[in-house]
């Protein structure tokens, strides 16, 4: 479904992503892991069109996304969350979803309703999504007044509001306790059951290993390993990339 070919992004001299080939199949939960600064968020940003790639191509269902503006990519069914939560803090919880709302394919309303329809037109559907996200009673609160965990859930709901085929989650478990991570795991599995394809960028290994179908490991912007969670866990290069520096420190002592 998503195919990255030889993708690269240089920031001046920094090669944040450097020749990444990756293919995600439809309906998969795909993990993207790697040490800090290895280029995971940059990859997500490239797929969403935050900035243009230096080289390579991004294809979604054989459509070249590479030249499209970010909002056009949403129309093709890509949406995302951010590593550091970016909600519309002064808008209410449900307005956050309203802004991102897109009708399910086949049930589109006219642009007139879409832009100038009153809240009542959408209230019902959006409320359902809020209930699903455990935010049912928060609808009219400003988003900035939510707790951290609730904000994470709202961001996830906002990403789902555009009815994506492919959803990119950039460290959704960062800062969560184990209970919240368990809840997140269920949500991600539900997304899969709803037919979405998920790209999960994550440092919380328990989550990645228990939920993903396949994983790519990045280091210095290059893929160093690819495989099932089990294969990745036993891969020496991966351990080296993650813990190599720690070993060196030990050796130094």
């Amino acid at each position: 479904m998503l195919k990255l070919t030889n993708l690269a992004k240089y920031f001046g001299g920094v090669r944040a992503v450097d020749g990444l080939d990756m293919q995600i199949n439809k309906g998969e939960i795909f993990g993207l892991i790697g040490p800090n600064g290895s280029g995971k968020s940059t990859t997500v940003n490239l797929i969403c069109g935050v900035f243009p790639q230096t080289a390579g191509t991004i294809e979604l269902d054989n459509v070249d996304l590479g030249r499209l503006a970010p909002h056009q990519r949403i129309e093709f069914g890509v949406s995302r969350t951010f590593q550091n939560i970016r909600l519309f803090g002064d808008l209410t919880v449900w307005q956050n979803l309203w802004v991102a709302w897109r009708d399910a394919p086949g049930h589109e309303t006219s642009w007139l309703v879409n832009w100038f329809g009153s809240p009542a037109d959408r209230r019902h559907e959006i409320q359902k999504l809020l209930e699903f996200s455990g935010l049912g009673d928060r609808a009219d609160r400003p988003a900035s007044s939510l707790s951290f965990g609730e904000q994470r859930r709202l961001e996830l709901a906002r990403a789902m509001a555009s009815k994506p085929k492919l959803i990119l989650l950039d460290e959704p478990a960062a800062g969560m306790n184990s209970e919240e991570v368990a809840d997140l795991r269920n949500r991600i599995l539900t997304m899969k059951n709803l037919g979405m394809t998920v790209l999960l960028v994550e440092h919380v290994m328990d989550l990645v290993m228990s939920v993903t179908d396949r994983i790519t490991v990045l280091n210095f912007g290059k893929p160093i390993a690819e495989g099932t969670p089990l294969e990745i866990q036993n891969n020496e290069m991966v351990q080296e990339a993650y813990f190599g520096s720690a070993k060196n420190v030990e050796a130094g002592n």
Binding site: F11, G12, N45, V50
Partner: protein, 295 residues
Amino acid sequence: MNFDHIDIVQSLIDGVLFGSVYALVGLGFTLIFGAMHKLNLAYAASSIAGAYIGLASITIFAVPTVIAFLVGPLAAGLVGLLIYISCFQFMPRNNMLAPLMASIGALFFIDELIIDKTAGSPITFPVLLPDAYFPVGEFGFRGDLLFVTFASFVLMGVIVFMLYRTKMGLATRAASQQPVASLLCGIPTHRTNSTVFVLAGVLGGVAGCLAAAAVGVLSPLLTLPLTVKGLIVAVIGGLGSIRGAIAAGFMIGALENLFLLFRGVNERDIYVFLVLFLFLVVRPNGIFGTSIDRD
């Protein structure tokens, strides 16, 4: 119309020399922006205020002109500090509008205070080196403008030295790049910021005095044009870029004088603004700017 090359070159010379005033004002805007990522729109007003206070020290206390040229910049530095305290110090760090508006308020305040005290009429300012003129071939260099340029270079040198060779400068640059982290490292950001405001204020005071001396009069009507030109220079140079502001100052001075020669005083500024637009479209990050911006 025909202009011979003598007119053109002469107006270029005068323009570049006078451009040093713009460079100083642009430098002030850029320093403050560099330190805090905020615009102080009252900056040029504080420069003019400094010049007025210098002038007042002559007319009221009859101090020698040289002293007035010291009083003016110092007073402008003080005004800069007051602006920092009243418009910037207590504002939320991530709010851009509030300090901007407050500094506009300060601009009005200073401007109206001057208008009130001087009844709005221009006052003659002591001319520096009135008779100095250095003919070079067919051209000539006005002594006062040469002095202005020279003084500006010295000041710019001092500023660059302070920023890159002193501990205070290091702290300022750190605070500018990572305000929160620097605070955690024990850098008193309020102190570095207020130092920048005072320094920039002094720069502006010198610019104000020099400009007034070169023009020969001081008038509240100077504030807005100086504000706008200073902003243009800072933007063309790339907000936060010191060498950019200096280069842009001389460039705008020169271009302005050329436009004056070719198109007359009524149209001159139109072309200056068009140059600004050209830069915004072609080089939005300034003369020396790179195009990488972090999110």
